[in-house]
Point group: C2
Chain length 300, copies 2
């Protein structure tokens, strides 16, 4: 069968999405409202406020500080630092390294929503704690996650959702996540071949697998750009193919979030579709996976 | 007499402002409302919308494109390019190179307002057309203009005002000017000695004469940060000592403005207060200057 989402081609192309965005029929016992489900379907993302209590947020922030602070022994290769500094930018493999983040990942308000939208049981494809410092926080250029996950990790179809829980207040000025609403409905097949070990460079600065200025101008003119702003505790879900990025941040206000990618059990990884070698495990879970057991009730 | 605003010292210090911000008593024939004058006094800046007609904005945008497009011969050394590219980032000496921008500088809505607020006749201390491209626009770090103008150009007192006319729509996401309201009431004496020919590096990236992270965190917590957003045609006035900067811009939307610094005739430049050699003319007018003849009515 032909790959419906070829990329890393000699020329950039816009291809229609071949997969649904919302895979379940809404029903009254769903973990989100019908309006929220429709919004996710239309925009490719959903911003949810006030779903966690102040105590829950406080506990998550304390756990995050402990993980970043060096007082906890972390798995080899699970930490990335800011270019040109020691500041921790990312800690991968959250559920494996923290009981509280493990519980968060499985929460009905998080995995429950993802599982409903994907119409399947889910597992954690990737997880990380992101920290963008004040003053020197670098930009993260526009990309569709799916483009990379398909080409470099072997994710077959568009049936995965990211959930980002804001652990700091985010406004438009401190480098928030920016999304192009509706951009998930087209796949941008990117130009250029994947270099070996691309992920080592691309985690710090994305160079391959990104759309051209022309393509991004077209998308932004058509769809506009929305910033995922909100107080700490705001939860942002976005489809694996939604075009997103973030500006740098010279304000003194740092930005942090806990990030989980949920993949449908039926969408487990195969061989990469556009690279010679799959990326390492902390970026894309490819071992034996188990469906998450969704947990209801408070975290703490 | 002792310098009231020493800087480039062994240690950073917060010093009280020794000068007024608004130097005139408001009167009914003033070129701005009493409320606007009060706002400028309190915040150190003022954002004014809808003072230019669509025709005026259109003419200014066309003139700006002509100046940046290479079709006009420009004065030696008056053009600065984006780091790592040929894109024109700045064109200096606007009134000298363009009759329309000359007229704009002298406009009652621009120079008239500055002259009223400064309680004196004014001249153009510096002028430039700024262009920050989409996708790759770099940040401009926090600084007080006066700190540099005093230390490196020999501007004696805080009696100068910048006026920036937006020539593109600016929202919070495409790297707008950010200001800290009320920050103009303190002078941050910066640490570090001025290197020779500092301006050659500082026009691309400011390294000396900038406050510490600690000082900026204190200022931002106390005053907050406001983005000068608005449609093309929005006019932003800010005091020479207001702390400001801008983030980089990965959006496709470029940002452009025409920028004039008006200095009070009574505040003409002397020898630099914190550098061995004064900066060149296109950054700080130090020749014979003439008070601007303020012009009323439409530009075109």
């Amino acid at each position: 069968a032909q790959d419906p989402y070829p990329s890393r081609l000699p020329e950039e192309r816009f291809l229609p999405r071949q997969d649904k965005t919302v895979w379940s029929q809404w029903r009254p016992d769903a973990p989100l409202t019908a309006q929220q489900a429709d919004q996710f379907d239309r925009d490719g993302f959903l911003i949810v406020k006030d779903v966690f209590s102040a105590e829950e947020i406080e506990a998550l922030m304390a756990e995050s500080a402990a993980l970043r602070g060096g007082e906890r022994e972390l798995m080899d290769g699970s930490v990335i630092t800011e270019p040109g500094s020691d500041e921790v930018r990312t800690v991968f493999k959250l559920p494996e390294q923290s009981p509280l983040f493990n519980r968060l990942a499985r929460d009905r308000r998080v995995a429950g929503v993802a599982s409903f939208l994907l119409g399947d049981e889910v597992y954690v494809h990737q997880s990380r704690l992101n920290y963008k410092p004040g003053f020197t926080g670098k930009e993260f250029y526009w990309h569709s996650d799916f483009e990379t996950w398909h080409a470099e990790d072997g994710m077959p179809r568009m049936r995965a959702i990211s959930a980002s829980l804001l652990l700091t207040d985010n406004d438009a000025l401190n480098g928030p996540l920016m999304l192009m609403p509706g951009s998930h409905k087209e796949f941008i097949a990117c130009a250029g071949e994947t270099p070996d070990d691309n992920h080592k460079a691309s985690l710090k600065k994305q160079e391959v697998g990104v759309p051209s200025h022309e393509a991004l101008t077209k998308l932004a003119s058509r769809h506009g750009i929305t910033a995922a702003t909100g107080k700490a505790g705001t939860l942002v879900f976005f489809d694996c193919n939604t075009m997103h990025g973030s500006n740098g941040n010279i304000t003194p206000f740092s930005r942090s979030n806990a990030f989980f990618v949920f993949n449908a059990m039926s969408n487990r990884l195969e061989e990469p579709f556009g690279a010679k070698k799959a990326r390492p495990d902390f970026l894309a879970e490819r071992g034996e996976v188990q469906a998450l057991e969704v947990a209801a009730g408070k975290l703490v």
